[in-house]
Symmetry: C2
Subunit: 100 residues, 2 copies
């Protein structure tokens, strides 16, 4: 557990809560046998919401944790962020390839 | 509500259930102030899981609903799928642009 300064953490938690509620309604739609295209649209909306939450996390992290870590030359924080962003971008590249 | 033939619908429901459980644990991590990079890694994993569920939905839909619709010249089903896939791909392109 870290006590980093995350001014937007409440916003991240709210976005995650909304994504959970949205996914629960999509699960119900799937159980009711709703139209595939409709399901796909709703899942796209949740992915978009999770990307929005990720963007807020990255912004908060760079503006606060990374800036503070850089001041004390803490390379682990910077390296962890680079690894996490690589994983995040990697997923998107992989998905775009699999669609085309 | 549709009564389409979706052989993999149980798999889709299971994947959605797991994504909900995973997101609930990520929300708890955010509430505990866990490291930003760790949160980002976990959100990436959920996005990857939702992309996996979307892939199964698209496969099922093309192999069953769309093939059946094409036989009776039902253009709405085909158009709805194209719209849904456009929206799905659009999200990914937008996100990749926003990262670079």
């Amino acid at each position: 557990m870290n006590n980093h300064n995350h001014p937007q953490s409440k916003q991240v938690i709210n976005r995650l809560s909304r994504a959970i509620g949205h996914l629960e309604s999509i699960k119900k739609m799937a159980e009711e046998g709703r139209d595939c295209s409709e399901l796909l649209n709703q899942i796209s909306a949740v992915i978009s919401a999770l990307n929005g939450a990720s963007k807020v996390i990255i912004e908060d992290h760079i503006n606060h944790c990374v800036v503070e870590a850089a001041k004390v030359d803490d390379k682990k924080v910077v390296n962890d962020l680079v690894d996490a962003i690589n994983k995040y971008i990697g997923i998107h590249i992989k998905n775009n390839d699999s669609i085309h």
